[in-house]
Amino acid sequence: MEIPYTVEVRRDTGLTNGKIGIWLFLASEVMLFGALFASYILIRTGSPTWPRGDSILNVPLATFNTIVLISSSVTMVMAWASLKRNRFGTFRIYLGSTVLLGGVFLVVKYFEYSHKFENGLFPSTNNFLALYFTLTGLHMLHVIGGMVVNAYFWGPGAKLWKTNPEWFANRVENSGLFWHFVDLVWIFLFPTLYLL
């Protein structure tokens, strides 16, 4: 059985099912991270002392990671745009770069984490670090999730391009929306944790 509006848009809403679905999902993600940011504010305002982020965390590394993630968002858009221009080869290059940049972000994060652990800084040390590890940890899970989906569309999922190119482009667009959201969360996390 065919579900209507998976590929073509419904005329009165102007949207496909997938597009509405991904935006609703992102709305719930906003509530998830929103609750964590709200918790950050409550715990920070309730505590007598609070360390400056840059006295514990490595700002240059995080700046590098910010640039990496923003670049990956650019390549993500380019990947989708290549599909829209019918250039499957460039699509693979751009989407592959997006996944690789996600990998670079994780590697940098791995060095940051292990450096903290070596210096005896754990989530249980204080609430600043508890929030740091929880927020960045959850964000990393989202990065990994986005990478898995993108890797799928780079590899086995790309078969759909041959049979239904428009549907495939829509899927890449939706996966891109998620990837931009993950990027955006980091853009809030970076100043909140490292700079303030």
Binding site: M1, I3, G34, L36, T134
Partner: protein, 588 residues
């Protein structure tokens, strides 16, 4: 876009898919099905089983409350020495039962039945859709729910038993509790994932897959109720997920999100970093759990509205104000949560704000209830089983709602907080309220799911027995609560002097609960017996007007033989001058 894309695949294509459907094996058809009707039935049956299980936990507790310290014959021995040595219940086990009764009834019983069951089965049919917008995600949603349920059940068998900190899992108590609490948190994360996937699916389906001509103001009220409910699930659950992650971190990684500095447990200062905020848990929990109350009640209101319109043979009185009230109610439910926290010392400014919003939110509920009652006026009412349950819902929900007003005001809440009055209040809303609505729905849509009606006589025994017993159980609790008996006492107040004059009411409540269990037997029998032996019915046995009744009973995979179309509003009954007593939405 062609003419037919408004709804479903062309009939020709449909037939070939039917043939394909026949080839599906047992597992694909009934276990790993992507058909919204099968998933709806899976949800409903699992939800009913959990409701019965949660009720059984309560029946055990009621024995301890009625006869504190007495050995429970037979069953007491079966539960083992670690829980009930010599058949006498240990306080820890009582706490497990209390916490798990609440958790199971809310998250594994009522919500899966109301949203997962009725939402999945009825909503796509009512809007004339061939299936949900994302059938595979729908299947995964049920599987997540099932895993969450298994995790919760497994927690009874870990060392230290299941969660014991109440269904609210307040910190710091829950943080320092035994291992069962970790299972509770992991189970909740599964359940939250399940409801997130369900909510995305419901909203997308409602917006995208409604039949041609079915504008929003032509939606049956049930569709509106599910639509608003889905938004509550979508936006209110993630903060609890965040809170659950933080509590898991507190328990497993040694953080102090919810542990204050200098916390003393059993005379020892806890060696944690400290600086956490126990109130933060309550805020995040109730940010979910207050909208959750409306998740429990709105689908039931939707069901009751359908059945009342159908059996009064009249349009709903005030359909539009009801819809606007529903949307307003959904919106307001996000800003009333701290009325559960008047006793926490969060401050009078906060209390003033939240008691004001609480009083405001009672207005739309009253509008809906009033509209439903006025809908009865002048109707030639058919008293069949679904209608009896729907009519039972009205006064029971009314009692529950009105007794909530003193709890919503700061000053009157303080003496009533955490007493049996609160238990009586919200059980009137959920048990004889919501659950009656859900029973009504089961009797009403059973012919659509099976092609047969449930037995009316057994249904009436079920209704009258349940109605009387529900009141025998919960009415005395108002008096217990007003006398000041706390809801948390494992002996029901036996050790307190002031509770002595009302203690006999515990016995009344308990016998009410056990007798009510007997009155569920006709329902259980009827539910299974009618699958094969119920009275055969056509596609539209209730002479209803909404689109689901244009599909064959039971509907095939893909639902409709021809793509349905909506020509008019949902409740055109007894239209003056019309040839028939009712004008279905789907007939030109």
């Amino acid at each position: 876009m062609s003419q037919t894309t408004g709804t479903v695949a062309a009939p020709g294509a449909h037939a070939s898919h039917d043939a394909h459907h026949e080839e599906l094996g047992f597992l694909r058809k009934y276990v790993f099905s992507t058909d919204h009707k099968v998933i709806g039935i899976q949800y409903a049956v699992t939800g009913l089983l959990f409701l019965f299980f949660g009720f059984s936990l309560m029946m055990l507790m009621r024995y301890q409350l009625a006869y504190p310290g007495a050995a429970l014959p037979l069953i007491g021995k079966l539960l083992g020495e670690s829980r009930m040595p010599g058949g006498i219940m240990l306080p820890d086990f009582y706490n497990e039962l209390g916490a798990m009764h609440g958790t199971i009834m809310v998250f594994l019983g009522v919500v899966p039945l109301a949203v997962g069951g009725f939402g999945n089965f009825v909503l796509p049919l009512q809007i004339g859709a061939p299936d949900m917008a994302f059938p595979k995600i729908n299947m995964v949603s049920y599987q997540c729910f099932f895993l969450g349920g298994v995790t919760m059940l497994a927690s009874f068998f870990v060392p230290g038993g299941a969660a014991q900190s109440g269904w609210t899992s307040y910190a710091p108590l829950a943080v320092i509790a035994s291992q069962g609490q970790t299972f509770w948190l992991i189970g909740m994360i599964f359940l939250i994932t399940s409801s997130l996937l369900g909510a995305v699916n419901f909203i997308t389906t409602t917006i995208q897959l409604r039949a041609k001509g079915l504008t929003f103001m032509r939606f049956p009220f049930f569709v509106w109720a599910q639509f608003v409910t889905s938004f509550l699930l979508l936006l209110a659950f993630p903060p609890l997920e965040a809170a659950g992650i933080m509590q898991l971190m507190d328990r497993l990684a040694g953080t102090s999100f919810f542990l204050p500095s200098g916390l003393v447990v059993s005379g020892q200062v806890v060696a944690n970093a400290g600086g956490g905020n126990p109130l933060l848990w309550q805020h995040l929990f109730w940010f979910l759990a207050h909208p959750e109350v409306y998740v429990l009640i709105l689908p039931a209101m939707g069901i009751v509205a359908e059945i009342i319109a159908n059996n009064t043979r009249k349009p709903l009185w005030g359909y539009k104000p009801m819809v606007y009230s529903l949307i307003f109610l959904g919106f307001m439910s996000f800003i009333v949560w701290a009325h559960h926290m008047f006793m926490t010392g969060m401050g009078t400014a906060m209390a003033a704000f939240f008691q004001t919003t609480t009083m405001i939110i009672s207005i739309p509920s009253v509008v809906i209830l009033t509209a439903l009652i006025l809908s009865l006026w002048g109707g030639s009412i058919r008293y069949n089983t679904p209608m009896l349950f729907a009519l039972g819902f009205l006064p029971m929900f009314g009692i529950g709602g009105l007794t909530g007003l003193p709890l919503g005001l700061n000053v009157t809440d303080i003496p009533l907080h955490d007493t049996y009055y609160v238990i009586a209040h919200f059980h009137y809303v959920v048990a004889p309220g919501t659950i009656f609505g859900l029973f009504a729905g089961i009797y009403y849509w059973y012919p659509k799911a099976t092609g047969r009606k449930m037995n009316e006589t057994l249904g009436k025994i079920h209704f009258w027995g349940s109605l009387i017993c529900m009141n025998v159980i919960f009415m005395p609790m108002f008096k217990l609560g007003l006398a000041g008996v706390s809801r948390r006492l494992f002996d029901g107040g036996a050790t307190y002097g002031f509770a002595q004059p009302v203690l006999h009411l515990n016995v009344v409540s308990s016998w009410g609960a056990w007798i009510m269990a007997l009155f569920q037997l006709p329902f259980i029998f009827n539910f299974f017996w009618s699958i094969r032996h119920g009275e055969k019915t056509g596609d539209n046995p209730w002479e209803a007007t909404t689109i689901e009744w244009s599909a064959p009973s039971p509907p095939p995979h893909g639902n409709f033989v021809h793509a349905p179309q909506a020509y008019r509003g949902p409740y055109e009954y007894s239209v003056p001058g019309a040839a028939k007593g009712f004008a279905p939405q789907f007939e030109a």
